[in-house]
Symmetry: C2
Subunit: 563 residues, 2 copies
Amino acid sequence: MNTTLKPAYAKTNDAVDFQTNPSDYRHWRLSFDGRVARLALDVDETAGLTPGYELKLNSYDLGVDIELYDALQRLRFEHPEVGAVIITSANERIFCAGANIKMLGLSSHAHKVNFCKFTNETRNSIEDASEFSGQKYLCAVNGPCAGGGYELALACDHISMIDDGATTVSLPELPLLGVLPGTGGLTRLVDKRCVRRDRADYFSCTEEGIRGERAVEWNLVDEIIPASKFDEVIAAHALEASAQSDRPDSEPGIVLDNLERTFSQDSLSYPNVDIVIDRKLRTATITISAPSEKPESDLESIKRAGSQFWAFAFARQLDDAILHLRANEDQIGTWLFKTKGAIEHVEQIDAILMEFSADWFIREVTLYLKRVLKRLDVTSRTLISAIEPGSCFVGTLLEVALACDQVFMLEGEYEGNPLPPAQVSFSKMNFGPLPMVNGITRLSSRFLANPDRCDDLKGRIGERLEAEAADAAGIATFTPDDIDWDDEIRISLESRASFSPDALTGLEANLRFAGPETLESKIFARLSAWQNWVFQRPNAVGDQGALVLYGSGSRPNYNKQRV
Amino acid sequence: MNTTLKPAYAKTNDAVDFQTNPSDYRHWRLSFDGRVARLALDVDETAGLTPGYELKLNSYDLGVDIELYDALQRLRFEHPEVGAVIITSANERIFCAGANIKMLGLSSHAHKVNFCKFTNETRNSIEDASEFSGQKYLCAVNGPCAGGGYELALACDHISMIDDGATTVSLPELPLLGVLPGTGGLTRLVDKRCVRRDRADYFSCTEEGIRGERAVEWNLVDEIIPASKFDEVIAAHALEASAQSDRPDSEPGIVLDNLERTFSQDSLSYPNVDIVIDRKLRTATITISAPSEKPESDLESIKRAGSQFWAFAFARQLDDAILHLRANEDQIGTWLFKTKGAIEHVEQIDAILMEFSADWFIREVTLYLKRVLKRLDVTSRTLISAIEPGSCFVGTLLEVALACDQVFMLEGEYEGNPLPPAQVSFSKMNFGPLPMVNGITRLSSRFLANPDRCDDLKGRIGERLEAEAADAAGIATFTPDDIDWDDEIRISLESRASFSPDALTGLEANLRFAGPETLESKIFARLSAWQNWVFQRPNAVGDQGALVLYGSGSRPNYNKQRV
């Protein structure tokens, strides 16, 4: 039975679909003028993702953010000419009121946490575009800008606020709702914009927000502009920023075709990613296929292939699969990764990514692979890889194994199977282009005590390692042979399925990120963890909690105990 | 009405007292042999802090940890000769089974969180002694070592495990209890001992733990030693470590006298720290008094003063006050800091601390001041300082203000009061000796965007800044004058008291630590935040939760949703 997911804006409780395209947008207006794009928020109140709330005052839900994510991806791939993006509002009364409160009050704990995570990833991708992709983001705050709306502004390179006497920036979550600004706001205030902590504290406790010169003095915004000159100044900024971009101004973009997907009750299949769910084991087996043929090796052919270029196609498919499983399959606590196909083809892909890294499209593909792998790192599922004969965990695909909590590798051959023993190998992609959210490679994080070990492995790029060597190299956690393989994997999956899923989430979030911390890792660790904690406190979500009572006219009666 | 707190081991639900002394220990045996001390855990099962559980198998509760903290403090101050400390068990069957599970099951969420925080601080102080104080900690694991017991071992410099076939190290919290090893274990595994993340993951999911060569290979312990040679090898290690210590071997120690304290219903008074609680405003006003006379200025007099030396006495009093308010006054959400006394005397204290920083006792006092101020940083209370005429927020005491979420400073004089306008000033103590848990000074964290600003302020050491100058220097958040002062403070305290205490805790934990992260900050941010989250999930603490069902014979039936 094949089924198609409903579009994101459908009023349905069915699965959430993370695929959309501009012709289906209900909430964003995307327009272009030479090297400048304009992304204007104009939320359709009636088009919430699920029933029960209206998206008033340009407030958003997951559906609005799915469109934003789609727009950001298209700006990167379909519009190589765009060097600057203006984020603004098309609603005359308001820039954005943040996440819809009624929606939050109606949502399960799991939905709130998952929604915040996706929203965080989307905002982080704005900063990724700015830092690595020659695409600057300018926020034109042309009306009141609150909560998640201001957090979106904080993800931009530059914040201009209209000086109209009514427009403020604010983070009213704490005084109004008893929760935190949970999508990066607090971290970006003090760590990105370096707002002094006492001012950040006052600001975050002030429902009405801050405007005018004080907002500039406190570095909450970069400038205030009189209404009469607002559009003109913003346009000049955008022109200036786009002129400094290294993106090509006359190359055609790469169109994001609709993904080919086939859903059935317990499976989901893309051309290069295949998922089979075992509900009893609470496990999704995700099998990634290498290119079936020798990949294109010159830029012209690669761009002709466009969204069919394996590295790009695989990234899109895995990205969609991750988002689908996270949002729609929350009872499936373990993802078991396998790969199959020709090792050589994956090696050739990696060689292409390195050789043409200066090309805008290849750069985008690599940056996208990086972002998809980061999604894996912060996914609250146990990740296990099984490296078997016939697999191709090399280079970029080895990163999938390195992202896993445990790595099983079969020692020797399967009895009665002609396939040679499994091998892994490194490519240059393992030593820099695909860092984790903590800013270092998965190998560096893995061998924190021995940086020399990374240097040694770098010297062994291309060498094929069978299980014993992979064990010695520190890649394989366990290397059972054919006799024990099935049992060991099964026991591992069964025991994982027997544990508290909450404790597993906490455990994995702590063990995956040895080493330094970055703005991103701080957001996913400190900020998100605290927000998740607050999100289940009775003061927020109990019968008398602030999120539940909001709009009822009643004030929450907090339990004042400090914990 | 004066009351005295019950000793920590009293079976009472009354207030927890963090003061004890070796003659009252019920759980630890402290002994000395030249430059080596031995701290042996020998928990009295019957001496739990509150009724309802027995401390079997050398398991611990807050009372056990209060004794440990007292012992660590005495080792630092009363025993300058001690260069190495052996932590071991005096129980033949077991090293330590970790935090008592029955106790955790009976405890409120607030108690669990507060208990973990104090336990973390105590373990961090072991590492502080090793890094800065010439006192190395050697863990002699002479029996099964589980959970919090292993986390204690992880805080030591060296872990030796007896090879007796029965002894393992383990972190069974996740498989057994559905919670995390929450007192630093996960962070220290991957960030201190650099255990590979996949091995750390397997280890933390394995109830029975790991022993023998594998424990060494995985770096879970530093060595295994046959039972026949265990004591001998440990003794040799301790001798060797103590021989490398720079602590003096023939100086007398400084005795920790019993603290002078006077409790009444709404106040707590020490010689240099005075606390008055306003229950309606949910505020404790904490007033610190400068030395009333010119402090001792030569080492001999300082050591003769001993625990009466102001810097040391103040540190002890504030430390005890913080611990008392955290544990026993959790409805009091805001701490308002004031100071009074002669600015010159505080400046003289700071000059002494800098001048004699090479002396062991002065070094200990400074390190202790650092640890007490760190306790403030991680305290889940709103911290506000009020700088008024007659105050002495300079140098070390200015750090109290810099630890605050907001700083009010009165501009000008009080009408009808002869005191001159309030002043603040910097000393060398503000520029290095008292870093936060994130490893940088409070000024560096405050001016993250402008490191130059710290350099500029360093050039202005000793300059007295009145409100306008303190505002310009970035120290004061607000500088109301006499007319507005009382109203502004009151409005601030009232609004703070009206907010969700949970959201405030999350907010403050995010805004206080801009800049880098360290092992310590990772423990308090990432690990503690996740543990707090797990600690209130139904899978842990619901009717069918693992913590509640432990020991009942029933297995928890987890809700398998991944969040």
